[in-house]
Symmetry: C2
Subunit: 159 residues, 2 copies
DNA sequence: ATTACTGCAAAGCATTTGCAAATGC
DNA sequence: GCATTTGCAAATGCTTTGCAGTAAT
C-alpha cells in the first residue's frame, strides 16, 4: 500500500519496541499462569514488525503459510491475549474484518481513514480528550477507552 | 448529506419522523428507478419505531417472524438503501453484529457505550466537531462522516 | 407485460471452537 | 509427567447472493 514518506521508517522503532515489550508480555503471561510458547512469540514479533494497522485475517493468512507456521486459530487467540494485555488495540469499523495495530510505544491515537486509498492517518488531540472527559463526567460515565474514526478522503495535492 | 434544511421539528417523535421521512425515502427510491414496495415500507416504519440503536439481525429476526413478514435478505437490502439515502447510520464496532440507528430528525451524534448494561448514551459536542474540522484541515482531509465511541461503564448512581 | 423485488435457502467469510497431538514447565 | 497450547477442520453466525416466483409500474 503506501510506502513513500514513512515518517517512522528511519527509526528502528518497531524492533526496539519489540525488545522492550516482549518481556512485558512474558510477565503478563506468567501472571496468568499461561505459557510462553513459540507460536506466541512469533505472533508477537510479527505484530511489532507491522507498521500501523493490519487486518487480523491478513496476519493469520500470512502466518499460516510462512516458514514459521502459526495456525489461524492461534493467531486469533494470541491477538486476544495481546489486546487483553494492552499491546494492541482493535480498530474495527465499517469493515467486517478486524483491524489491529500495536500501541506500545506509540501512545493512543485515532485515525482519519482515506476511502480512496485506504490510508490511515494518525492524529491525537488533547482538546478532544479533555472534552470527552468532560462529557463522561457529565454523564457519570467512566471511560475505559474510546475510538474516533473519521472517514473521508485526502485531498489531491494541487494539480 | 445533512438533513432537515430549516425544518427543525420540535417534536422528534418517532411516528412524526416517519411521517416526514417516508415521502423523502419515496423520492429517493423514485430517483433511483426503484420501486416503492410493501416490504420496504414495513422495514422503514419499523426502523423509525425503534428508539435509538438496534441490531440489523435483531430487526431481521423480528420481521422474519411477525405478521408483516419481511425476509432477512430484504431487511438487509432495505437497510442498505436507507443508509445510502442517509436515514440510518451504521454504528458497528467491537461487536460482530451490525448496529444501526435512524438519524432523521435526531442529527448526528456519538455514543458512550456501557459495557455493563449494553446501554448506549448519546452525546454530541460542537467542541469536538470543531476540533475534528481543524485536524482534517491540517491534514488536507475532507471528512465524509466520523464516529466516536467511548467504551466504559456508567457509574452506579445511588443505592 | 415488463422488470424489479421478494423469499428462501444456500453460499460466503471472518472468527471461534472441539479435540487429539504436541509442547512448555 | 501433567496441563496448557496448538493445529486442523468443522462449526458459528451474521450477512450476502442466486434463482424462481411475485408484485409494482
Amino acid at each position: 500500500m503506501s510506502s513513500g514518506e514513512g515518517k517512522f521508517s528511519q527509526v528502528p522503532e518497531d524492533d526496539q519496541s519489540f525488545q522492550e515489550a516482549w518481556p512485558l508480555f512474558v510477565d503478563f503471561l506468567k501472571g496468568k499462569d499461561s505459557r510462553i510458547t513459540q507460536a506466541r512469540q512469533i505472533v508477537f514479533e510479527r505484530v511489532f514488525a507491522r507498521h500501523d494497522h493490519f487486518r487480523a485475517d491478513d496476519l493469520a493468512a500470512e502466518l499460516a503459510s510462512g516458514e514459521n507456521h502459526v495456525s489461524r486459530g492461534t493467531v486469533y487467540r494470541t491477538l486476544d491475549l495481546m489486546t487483553e494485555a494492552g499491546f494492541v488495540q482493535k480498530i474495527r469499523d465499517d469493515d467486517v474484518h478486524a483491524h489491529y495495530e500495536h500501541i506500545y510505544g506509540h501512545g493512543r491515537h485515532d485515525h482519519l481513514i482515506c476511502e480512496k486509498t485506504g490510508e490511515f492517518i494518525e492524529f491525537s488531540s488533547p482538546v478532544i480528550s479533555d472534552e470527552l472527559d468532560r462529557i463522561c463526567r457529565e454523564h457519570g460515565f467512566t471511560e475505559r477507552f474510546h475510538r474516533i474514526v473519521v472517514f473521508g478522503a485526502r485531498e489531491d495535492k494541487k494539480k
